[in-house]
């Protein structure tokens, strides 16, 4: 089982759409795939038409009163399942702090019983750098980091790299930054992409375009490649998925 966190300190960079589309493509390629919606906003759950609600909330989940197995929902797509969000996830750090042992390894612990059930697990992560993020970093094999081609995005990437460097035990965590919401018309985007790609090793080749079709995912309530398989943005997600699968 490979675990991929789609993560950025910054919000509004295309995390959820990337998570949903990549997970869909993983399942379409025949892999048993789970999306864990860790963002209290519950956008990924919404895209899959599942209510962002867990009986007993995050507390029941962390205390083992609700087994993961009982909470997971099948989606409209074969081999693709979802662990929905809950509004209580906004207080996740407090709940994690309350864990008796190893508060930074709680996600890892919760996933243990389903290790054999999936080939890929995708975390849709809330923006921030917190105890929850640290749990994500500990559990994941790779972190995909969407970057809008802007100076601000570079700063958040540097912050993340800096954070990971200062902590112990993240040596094996693969960092997979990629460009998201790219506007091909804007020369500033193109210049930034060239500059950042030269400066930061390991930035993936695939670029996700800024596209009205991606925004329409909220209307269709399904992954983009499911309703617009030949849209250029779907092709970009396919290219991205191939790179990620290769990197893992």
């Amino acid at each position: 089982m490979k675990i991929v966190g789609v993560y950025s300190i910054k919000g509004g960079v295309g995390k959820t759409s990337s998570t949903v589309n990549l997970a869909y493509l993983a399942a379409e390629a025949g892999h048993r795939t789970l999306v864990w919606d860790l963002d209290p906003q519950g956008a990924a759950s919404y895209f899959f038409r599942v209510k962002p609600k867990i009986k007993g909330g995050g507390r029941a989940l962390l205390r083992g009163k609700r087994a993961l197995d009982d909470i997971i929902k099948g989606t409209d797509f074969e081999l693709l399942e979802l662990l929905p969000a809950d509004f209580s996830f906004r207080n996740m750090d407090i709940l994690l702090e309350g864990a008796k042992k190893k508060p930074i390894r709680q996600l890892q612990r919760l996933l243990k019983p389903v290790v054999g059930d999936y080939d890929y697990v995708f975390f849709d992560c809330p923006p921030s750098i917190s105890l929850m993020s640290e749990n994500i970093f500990r559990a994941a094999d790779a972190l995909m980091v969407p970057l809008i081609p802007s100076t601000l995005s570079e700063r958040t990437l540097l912050q993340l790299k800096d954070f990971l460097r200062k902590q112990e035990g993240f040596g094996a965590l693969k960092l997979l930054p990629f460009f998201s919401m790219v506007d091909p018309e804007r020369s500033l985007h193109q210049d930034t992409i060239e500059r950042l790609s030269a400066k930061h090793k390991g930035v993936l080749e695939a670029r996700i375009p800024l596209s009205p079709e991606v925004e329409r995912m909220g209307i269709h309530r399904m992954p983009l490649p499911a309703y617009a398989p030949s849209n250029p943005a779907s092709s970009a997600y396919r290219a991205l998925w191939e790179e990620v699968a290769e990197a893992l």
């Binding site: 390629a29 025949g30 892999h31 048993r32 899959f48 038409r49 599942v50 209510k51 197995d69 009982d70 909470i71 997971i72 929902k73 099948g74 989606t75 409209d76 074969e78 081999l79 399942e81 080939d119 309530r221």
Partner: protein, 537 residues
């Protein structure tokens, strides 16, 4: 809670479209257009996938072709899928992917063979909740088994599958209840694949090279021995075609094991079959063992090659490539010789004569022909065990390699005897003893095989050199390999004493005594009774 797939059979003569209309009228759902597909189900000759609770389905729909790994325990629900553009065969032929990951460890080195082909028409309906979210999938399906040669098509009963979606169990129960009330549904007792196999008369799991005879302890030895030998002949014959076509190396391996076991049964179960018959067939099966040897040796080499290569330091590894080329070049010639032997009148006559003899009415006048098999088995195993102990104890640190080789042969005979007759003894005990004998055999086999391999490599190096096919790099690499093999051999030799003392333990000897202990009647008394019985008959 994992989703559950429930299969039903529609009543005879039901039409898919009418049934789909009923489903649509009863449940809020969205229907996909009807699809036509061709499916083939694959397994290895020994049904490795079926025995692991799985099946491999290849589906061609329009220009899309994919394979799915199905869970037979969940009515054939797909656990993984993968697009393919190659003909299915060995695991290495299938490109990496989710199905390959599951297939490779189960299939091993065996080849996938098509077991049954279907042409299917399907209709899928997704049952939706208020959010238009899929909560249940209903699949209506009508399949026919494609006719092959003279075999006509067979129409299988139409099916209605209710596939649950995880987290929506209640919705699945509701849908099942409603549809059961509306359509004349019968529960399907087997997944589609198994129903199709049953309709063609194929029994999954029917072939196994394992020995599994159910013997009656009081059965006359001759009848029991014929039963064992017939089983071995069945196994041997079952593997001839796959060996001839070189489908995978296991066919030849199983054929050779059945041959070796036959020879062992002939020579070890003494006094049961007429001596002239024993002599004749021992001789003829020895020929078979000999003509099948060279290809098996090369198979083992080629299978082991990646491992042999990695046992060398990295800079030396490319030096082994000429050896691989050499072996591959000789392989075709050896294969042709083997195919010729298997097509020869000598081989065909051997199978024919042997079956004719084994199936003919009993006529052996040999001394133990009428003795209960239990007594013969006890006596033979007891003697062979004593011989293993005697030969093993005589081996010291400075004993020649031949002594270990002889002990291996004796040990193998003991193992085969115990395997032939295992149904006569308590399962746990006999299996434990067989296992322990195998441990000893592995050690002795390792010692012997490594020596043979090292010698074979040295001979090959000479032959390659003579043919100008051994550059210096190849000679160095082969030299290093020989040294590595001999080192391993020495390790096996050093471990012998410890492993043998485990076999020769007091507990083990006591167990042998208990299981194969002295018979209740004396041999001569039994002979007398058998002779008088025969006289009366």
């Amino acid at each position: 809670m994992n989703p559950v797939v429930i299969d039903h059979l529609l009543a005879d003569g039901s039409d898919l479209d009418t049934a789909a209309d009923v489903v649509q009228a009863a449940l809020r759902c969205q229907a996909a257009p009807p699809t036509e597909s061709r499916r083939r189900y694959f397994d290895s000759f020994e049904w490795s996938l079926y025995l692991a609770g799985a099946a491999l389905e290849e589906e061609v729909m329009g220009d899309r072709r994919e394979v799915a790994w199905l869970d037979l325990a969940d009515n054939g629900a797909a656990l993984a899928r993968q697009g393919v553009d190659v003909e299915l065969g060995l695991a290495v032929d299938l490109p990496p992917g989710p199905v390959h990951t599951r297939l490779a460890p189960v299939l091993g080195i065996r080849r996938l063979l098509p077991m049954v082909s279907l042409a299917c028409r399907s209709r899928t309906l997704r049952v939706l909740n208020d959010d238009d979210k899929t909560v249940v999938r209903v699949v209506l399906e009508q399949c026919r088994i494609a006719g092959e040669g003279a075999r006509p098509e067979v129409l299988l009963p139409a099916r209605l599958r209710i596939a649950g979606v995880r987290g929506y169990q209640r919705e699945q129960e509701d849908a099942t209840r409603q549809l059961e009330a509306l359509l004349a549904l019968q529960p399907a007792h087997a997944p589609l694949l198994l129903a199709a196999l049953a309709a063609t008369g194929r029994r999954p799991g029917a072939y196994s090279s394992k020995l599994d005879y159910r013997l009656d302890p009081k059965q006359p030895a001759e009848a029991a021995l014929r039963n064992i030998l017939l089983g071995l002949l069945d196994t041997l014959e079952a593997n001839v075609d796959g060996t001839r076509r070189n489908l995978d190396p296991e066919f030849l391996h199983d054929l050779r094991v059945a041959t070796r076991r036959t020879r062992s049964a002939l020579s070890q179960v003494k006094g049961v079959l007429p001596p002239a018959i024993v002599e004749d067939f021992k001789h003829r099966f020895a020929w078979l063992q000999q003509v099948t040897g060279p290809v098996r040796d090369l198979d083992v080499y080629l299978l082991d090659f990646p491992k042999l290569k990695t046992s060398l330091p990295a800079p030396l590894r490319p030096g082994l490539d000429p050896l691989k080329d050499w072996l591959a070049a000789h392989y075709d010639g050896e294969r042709q010789a083997l195919a010729k032997a298997l097509d020869s009148e000598r081989f065909l006559a051997l199978l024919r004569d042997w079956r004719a003899y084994l199936e003919a009415p009993s006529r052996s006048l040999a001394a133990d022909a009428a003795t209960p098999i239990e007594d013969v088995a006890n006596r033979r195993i007891r003697r062979m065990f004593k011989r293993v102990i005697r030969e093993g104890r005589a081996i010291a640190d400075n004993s020649p390699a031949e002594d270990l080789h002889d002990l291996r042969k004796t040990c193998k005979k003991l193992r085969y005897l115990m395997e032939f007759f295992q149904s006569l003894y308590p399962t746990t005990e006999i299996k434990g003893l067989i296992k322990q004998t195998k441990v000893l055999l592995n050690n002795l086999g390792g010692f012997q095989d490594l020596a043979v391999q090292a010698q074979h490599l040295a001979d090959t190096a000479v032959a390659m050199q003579a043919a100008d096919a051994a550059p210096v790099e190849a000679q160095l690499a082969m030299g290093a390999l020989i040294s590595h093999l001999l080192e391993q051999q020495q390790r096996a030799r050093r471990e012998f004493a410890r492993i043998f003392s485990g076999f020769d333990s007091e507990a083990n000897r006591a167990l042998f005594g208990r299981l194969f202990g002295p018979p209740t009647t004396t041999t001569s008394a039994r002979h007398g009774a058998a002779d008088s019985n025969r006289a009366r008959a």
